[in-house]
Structure formats: C-alpha cells, structure tokens
C-alpha cells in the first residue's frame, strides 16, 4: 500500500515543483515542512491526484493516482484542505455526511466523527456560522466520516493552522489512529510541535524541491531547519517524548 512518486513535476504559472521521487510507507505519519511558497500544498495535492502533473507518475498500492475515477479516489484517499469552504445554509451534520457521498449513508459514522472533533452539539447549526477553527474541525470530521476499510491515503494540509493547542493535539491523535489502520498519512504543516510530537518522517521542502527526507529526529534538527527557513531553531524539551526542534524568537 505504499504511495510512490516517480519524477513527479508540476507547473502552476511561474511556479515549478520537482521533479520529486519519494516513497511514503503505510502506518507512518509523514510531515512536510518548508517556508511559504516552497510547494508543500502543491506536493500534497499532486500526491492525492487533485493537481495535474506535468510529468512522472504517482502510484498508490501500484495504481496510478491520476487514472483513478472520482469514486475510486474517494474510496482510497481522504483529504483535508488548507482552507475548507463552508457553503451557506448547509448544516454541520450535512457537510460531514458529504464525506460518505460515494458510500451508503451512515448517520452513526457522522455522529461518531462529530464527537471526535467535539462538534456533536453543533450538528444542526449552519456551517457558515462557525469560526475558522470550528470550520477546520468540520473538515476533519468529514475526512473521518469518509474513512473506510478501502482508505489507503490520508492527506491533511495545515490541519492545525486555525486550531488551539488542545485540538491540535487531538488532530495529532486522529492522524495516528489513521496510520494505525494501515494508511499512509501525509501532513503539510508549519507547526513544529506537531511535527516533532506526531510525525515519524519529515520531508523538508524549499523552492519546489525536496531538500531532505528521513526520520523526524534526524532530519528535522535545528541546523537543517535553520538553513531551510533562514531563522534560528533550537532543541526544545518537554514538548514530546524526545527533543523537538522549534523556532527561536
């Protein structure tokens, strides 16, 4: 069930990504970090087939991602965007239920997902009345409702950007649960606490290329992150089981 990118390149206007060749193992959380406009979102969108690629190939368990039909992609890949759109007048429960658009209706799965993100009591509220953080939790709940035995890849783009520390930690636990189901989990993030505490592998990106990849403990060290971001980093203790490289103010 490995996700593999072979010489993947993407062009979006003046921006070019790649070529990128990288393999993502199931059961692990892969954190993609890099400065603004380094290509994190483009990379993860390309990996789940939401962005057309210029050249190369991406395969999930041997199946080309860009050749998947809409229903097959929904069955295999779950995605949480950086900025989820909240349509007017739809209710929270209705938006979460859309995760099961291509599956049989399952009100219990919707209820369970809403409980996991702490929004069960808001099920009947309009989504356009929610805060940015709550909207993001709705998108995470929709992803959870979409999870099925066929799901092989879970991609989260900046999942903690609008969340408070408690819900950031919850999203980390949910991502771990997805990995424990045997999914490949990829998280694009600027949250170094999340990277250090929740991710197994780190992919460092700059100017559309992968600069380094490997275990978080070895790749995401203060020296490499300082060089990547042009800002000082230092080891912080007490955030996770092992020291975490964090930006120094």
């Amino acid at each position: 069930m490995t996700l593999q990118a072979h010489d993947m390149s993407i062009r979006m206007g003046a921006f070019e990504l790649g070529p990128v060749s990288v393999a993502f193992e199931p059961g692990r959380i892969h954190g993609v970090v890099g400065p603004n406009a380094s290509g994190k979102t483009t990379l993860v969108r390309g990996l789940c087939g939401l962005q057309a690629i210029q050249s190369g190939a991406i395969t999930l368990a041997g199946v080309p991602v860009h050749a998947m039909a809409a229903a097959e992609r929904a069955a295999r890949i779950a995605f949480v965007p950086q900025r989820p759109v909240m349509p007017p007048a739809l209710r929270v429960g209705e938006v979460v239920a859309l995760g099961r658009l291509r599956m049989r209706r399952d009100p219990q799965a919707v209820e369970r997902s809403l409980r996991q993100v702490g929004l069960l009591e808001r099920e009947m509220d309009r989504v356009d009345a929610l805060s940015a953080g709550q909207s993001h939790r709705v998108a995470v709940a929709r992803m959870l409702a979409q999870l099925a035995p066929t799901t092989q890849l879970v991609v989260l783009d900046e999942p903690t950007a609008s969340l408070d520390p408690a819900w950031s930690a919850s999203v980390g636990r949910l991502a771990r649960a997805c990995a424990d189901r045997g999914c490949v989990v990829i998280v694009a993030t600027h949250d170094f606490g999340f990277l250090g505490a929740c991710c197994d592998q780190a992919i460092l990106m700059a100017e559309g290329t992968v600069r380094a990849l490997g275990p978080v403990a070895t790749v995401a060290n203060p020296e490499s992150l300082s060089a990547l971001f042009g800002a000082p980093f230092a080891w912080a203790h007490g955030i996770a089981a092992q020291p975490v490289a964090m930006p120094r103010w």
């Binding site: 992609r73 929904a74 965007p81 909240m86 349509p87 658009l101």
Partner: protein, 328 residues
C-alpha cells in the same frame, strides 16, 4: 420540524399567488376585472401555467449557477444567460425575416440555449484566473459586461427588423407572461424543466458537495468536469426556454434560491423543489401585480414588475442575512 413549517409556509404562499392571478385580470381595453370569471378561466389558467413554468425554470437556473459558481449573485439575468438567449433569438428572427422564413418554437429554444451557453462560458472564461480560479467579483463584473453587450446585440437586431415585426419582438423583450402560450414553446419549457428538476433533485447530494472547494468536492468523489458541463447545459437551456416564452426577466432567478435556502436550508434535496415553488410563485404574483396596475396605452410589461419588486425583495433578504456567501 423547521422543515415542515417551511414547506407549509411555502405552499400557502404559492397557493395564494396562484389564487391572486386567477382572480385578477385586465381586459384589452384596460378595465380591471376582479373575481372568478368562467369565460376567462382558460386565459387565466394559461397565464398561471406560463408564469409558473417560466418562474420555476429561471429559479432553478439561478440555483444551479449559484451552487456551481459558489456565488450568491449568480443568476441567469446577472450573468447574461437571459440576454444571450434574447440576443440569439432576436438575431434568428432577423435572419429568418431576411430569408422570408419563420423560426419554429423548437428552433427558437435551441438557438436561445446556444446564446445562453455562449454568455455563461464568456463569464466563466473572463471571471477566472489561472492562479485563483473563479473569482466571485470578476465573475459578476464579467456578467454585467457580457449582459450589456448582448443586450446591445438584441437591440441592434430588433432595430433592423421592419416596424411590423419589431413591435412583437419589442414587447417580448420587455417581458410578458402569455395567457395563450404557444403549445410548442410551453411543451419545450416543461420538458427542459422536468429533466433539469429531476436531474438536480437526484444529484442533490453531489450538488451539495459541489459547493465545497474544488479539491474538497473531488476528494469526496464528485466528478467535477462532467457535472459542470451538465449544469452549464441545464442552466442555459432553462434560461433559454423561459426567455423564449416570457422574454428576459430579472431577479426571479436571483431571489428565489436565496428565499428557498432561507426557508428550508441549503441541502439541495430540499432546496431544489423549494426553489421551483418560490420561482413559480414569484412570477405568477408578478403577473397578478401587473394586471392590477393601470397603465395607459396597453399592458404593463411583467419584466418591469419583476425588476421593481425583485430589487427590494433581494435587498430585504440581504438585510435579513438570508443571502449567504460561500466562505473559506
């Protein structure tokens, strides 16, 4: 519970609008006729049928456009679909007159649909950028310009017609709900409306998902490209068929979806039938209002009533917060 109350309110309003049109008419000499008159029943029922069908079609066209484009200002009039249909039909009438022929009702709808599609595709082409996709403001600006240009084309074609042909085209261009509609036009409109309504209702959940971002819609399994082309065709055909029967009418396609969402929420399984009902009721009510207002020298165009009443109705919905925007 809220849904049941919304449906009851909507049905009561719709029945009241139909009753109003059945009980009000204005004779050709300008006399106001109040109350039921058996000898005029066929005319009044004809007007109710025409108005309800055209109003429902414009409303559904507006709902599909708003959902596809995630734009609360999208409507067949604002984006130039009605203008495109009007321009294409007037041009067809001009060419037919020059060739000494007549445009059949079916051909009129097909030509109008092509005009609507051209208008919509122009709006989408100029309303999007490669980096940001569809921009709501750019889309509406493109629509205003496209509608103005197509309006000029329609006016030019109208003025090139001889006076004997021009009067009928001019009256149609101002908007009117026919009491004795062309059977072929009415059948074409009802066919388009039936197919589009069944398609929109059965694909209601996919339409819900389409209102998310492109990435989110694709991620939950919406085949976006196919759905978009279906909506472009459906919204254009609805606008064209309604325009062929009643002329270009403003605000019905804009106000009805917002009113329906305000009453019954945003899920399309509810919004589609509610929008059809609101649109039908609005145009029938506008036609009844037209009949009440005395005007010297003929009948008041229903398009004038739609604009005069639809504008304040939209502003009222805006004031009450019932015009929701797609928020990222």
């Amino acid at each position: 519970m809220r849904s049941a109350r919304g449906w009851i309110a909507l049905l009561v309003i719709a029945v009241a609008c139909v009753a109003a049109r059945l009980l009000v008419a204005r004779s050709l000499d300008g006399t106001l006729q109040l109350g039921w008159q058996a000898d005029a029943a066929a005319w009044r029922l004809g007007a109710v049928t025409s108005g309800a069908a055209a109003g429902a079609a414009l409303a559904l066209s507006g709902l599909l456009l708003q959902s596809m484009l995630r734009n609360p200002l999208a409507s067949p009039f604002v984006l130039g679909l009605s203008g495109g249909a009007q321009a294409a039909m007037t041009l067809a009438a001009l060419l037919a007159w020059k060739a000494g022929a007549q445009v059949s009702p079916a051909a009129s709808v097909v030509v109008g649909c092509a005009g609507s599609m051209v208008a919509l595709l122009l709006c989408i082409a100029f309303g999007r950028s490669r980096e940001r996709g569809l921009d709501p403001v750019s889309l509406v600006l493109a629509g205003v310009v496209v509608a103005a240009m197509l309006g000029a084309v329609a006016t030019l074609c109208e003025w090139m017609l001889p006076p004997s042909e021009r009067a009928a085209v001019h009256a149609w261009g101002l908007g009117r709900v026919p009491e004795a509609p062309s059977t072929a036009l009415l059948v074409a409109l009802l066919l388009v409306l039936g197919v589009a309504a069944v398609g929109a209702w059965s694909g209601g959940r996919a339409l819900d998902a389409m209102q998310l971002s492109d990435d989110e819609a694709r991620a939950v399994g919406v085949p976006l490209a196919g759905m978009r082309w279906s909506i472009v065709l459906g919204a254009s055909a609805l606008a064209a068929a309604a325009t062929a029967l009643c002329g270009p009418l403003a605000f019905v396609g804009l106000v009805a979806p917002h009113a329906a969402r305000g009453l019954l929420g945003g899920a399309h399984r509810q919004t589609v039938p509610a929008t059809l009902l609101v649109g039908a009721a609005l145009l029938v009510l506008a036609d009844a209002t037209r009949a009440i207002i005395p005007v010297e020298g003929g009948r008041l165009p229903v398009g004038v009533v739609c604009a005069l009443a639809g504008g304040p109705a939209f502003l009222m919905l805006l004031r009450r917060g019932a015009v929701g925007a797609w928020r990222a």
